[in-house]
Symmetry: C2
């Protein structure tokens, strides 16, 4: 048995980890030297002892330079320093982008002893990092700070709010450990690794094999199930670091806590989905297989017509059905049924929406979040993914992103 | 040798075919009895002799009732009457939806002798056809009219303009035939059969086997290559009818004319893409295979981030590259190059966009149409699909569709 309780403080709650974020004047449009960006752009997570680390990365073929840099380290390497920047993704920058990280890390090592330092970047694709600006951060950093809020703010790009979580996990033998995370992500979120950065730290005495297994499993149940716009970025990263300062560990407890923290952060990303006003769970069940359920569920969370109907609060189940039918999975209109929350909105016997049920559906759709549940009536395959509506605001944000 | 010349008149140019469209007061929101719709909603194409017919239909599993009704006829059946309605898709209506067509056709047959009459519908999914209203059209129709413009207008849903084309094809032996078409489609357009209806008529003496082959081939080169929003409807249909009143036929000439008419109508659909302001060709070449080129090209024409960047006229090639990388095909950032029209915008040697080239790219993007050309530098596979930008207007149209 174990108890998981939410606590305040974000990354600060884990002993031995330090973090901070500063502004060195990087620009969201590197080609425009007149743009002024006042938000933070460079930050770090530092541990006073070396940490085991696990990571999952984007499956985009064009992985960004920091990911390639990470992958140069041997398996099971340990690190004590993670440098993070926003505004510039250091993606599609070739070998030069990797060399730039080495240059930056050499400069960093003059300020603080780093062991296998790693970097993580988000922002615009296709520009070299402004090395001169980034290294000025090293004079501004307080390497002994515990500024989780500041760092969570620093790594934001189009995010409207910062995302952090911390939990204390108490085991029944009286021992306890902590797990905490910060995360960024709002646009360009797609199942198969949302475009996001997520940094999770813990003091649990977790074996490396469990870290790898549970981080992958946690990603599958969280970031891989959310969609804002069906795009997958070059930089998606989720990392888990442990300094093992606590002797406590229990696989089931850790797994639960990790899944909880990752799922909650994934839902925060979705709520922050660019211009999103609603969070919708797309449950597909009764499919021939889990894979078929997954394909239909993800088709729903990515469909523009479904997303605009959500925004318009139009209880147009025809778009739901049509999207399932277009997903290529086995389905039959006579066995299909669709619910919005608990309201039956389509079944073989009940196809036309009368005005009373349309009103009820309308009330459900006015909520900040609700469930679209589709039972294919053919088998036991089930999968749930999570999406949001598509608003004018999404178009505005993404048409204007760099300017 | 042959000569294909564009002529005025739409469907009217083909002798022996008649068409008309009327308004019987069907509603875009069947649940709202107070909505008033003044546009036309029911029309027909009638031939004074029986015609051979070929059709290609949506690959959505939930094919609409009129498609199932069509498929009940034996192979190589002939017909002399096509009834068309807008406002109601007669989709997800089960057996009752098919029975309704039979009821309607029985009523129609009392007004005019029909042979294997077929129906085609577009509109909202999930409501039974208003049979009583539809049969009132039969008193309003002029069965000897040649009102192509009216019919083209009648079958519109969210279309902003009607779509018709006619060609005269002259063979070198002095014989000639005609080919003409009307088409509807604006939203919900996706490669793998756009959500559209297209009715093509001809007097050419074309064998049935050629009709089947050339209609499929024409669809692959036109409607299957356009994307407005990545959705595929329950009702997509392209039909080709011939009354063989001309003794003329030449396979190459017919194929060219058919491809031309279908491609031009597909481009009209794209220009009418809901809220679209630009038409963009996404050429992918140098891929390992044509299939890989196709996957990347279609990913580009469907990407929300690419589409919003087009709307914002932001020469952000990073979104192009990222979408290719996310499409799962083999690609390499060192062999990739990207052009906007003739402007090199990315290559291994030229990654960062300086302000001069950004200005040039900006001018290209201001055009009504341009080409995004991506050379993967890996093989000889090539494919071009066609897309449009995503604007505030798209969201508005689709959030408000039924109300």
């Amino acid at each position: 048995m174990f108890n998981i309780s939410s606590i305040e403080g974000g990354l600060n709650v884990v002993d031995g980890f330090f973090c901070d974020g500063v502004n060195v004047g990087m620009r969201t449009n590197p080609a425009n030297s007149e743009s002024t960006d006042i938000d933070g752009d460079v930050g770090f997570i530092h541990s006073d002892t070396v940490c085991d680390i696990s990571a999952v990365f984007t499956n985009n073929t064009f992985q960004a330079a920091p990911i390639k840099h990470y992958q140069r380290y041997p398996d099971n390497f340990q690190t004590n320093f993670l440098l993070i920047n926003a505004k510039n993704a250091n993606a599609m920058t070739g070998q030069a982008g990797i060399d730039d990280i080495d240059t930056i890390m050499t400069a960093l090592d003059k300020k603080i002893d780093t062991i296998n330092p790693i970097m993580s970047s988000t922002g615009v694709i296709g520009y070299r990092l402004p090395i001169d600006k980034i290294v000025t951060a090293f004079d501004k950093f307080d390497f002994t700070a515990k500024n989780s809020h500041t760092l969570a703010q620093t790594i934001m790009t189009t995010d409207k709010f910062k995302k952090e979580r911390a939990y204390k996990v108490e085991l029944d033998n009286g021992n306890s450990f902590h797990i905490a995370a910060i995360c960024k992500g709002a646009g360009m979120i797609n199942p198969a690794m949302a475009t996001m950065l997520c940094f999770i730290i813990t003091d649990a005495n977790i074996p490396k094999a469990d870290m790898d297994e549970l981080l992958l499993q946690g990603s599958e149940k969280s970031f891989n199930r959310i969609s804002v716009d069906g795009d997958t970025s070059t930089n998606d990263t989720a990392m888990l670091l442990t300094n093992k300062k606590s002797s406590a560990y229990n696989k089931e407890a850790f797994s639960k806590a990790l899944e909880k923290i990752m799922f909650e952060l994934a839902m925060e990303i979705l709520k922050d989905g660019e211009g999103a006003s609603k969070l919708v769970a797309f449950e597909v069940k009764g499919a021939k297989s889990e894979d078929e359920a997954r394909r239909a569920s993800i088709a729903l969370s990515n469909s523009l017509l479904v997303k605009t109907a959500l925004f318009g609060e139009d209880p147009n189940w025809g778009r739901i059905a049509s999207t399932i039918g277009a997903s290529g999975i086995e389905c039959d209109e006579s066995t299909l049924s669709i619910h919005y929350d608990d309201l039956l909105i389509y079944s073989n016997e009940f196809r036309e929406l009368d005005s009373q049920r349309e009103e009820q559906a309308f009330s459900i759709m006015k909520q900040d979040s609700f469930i679209v549940s589709c039972d294919l009536g053919l088998g036991s395959g089930a999968y749930t993914s999570y999406g949001c509506d598509l608003s004018y605001e999404y178009v505005k944000i993404n048409a204007e992103y760099r300017t």
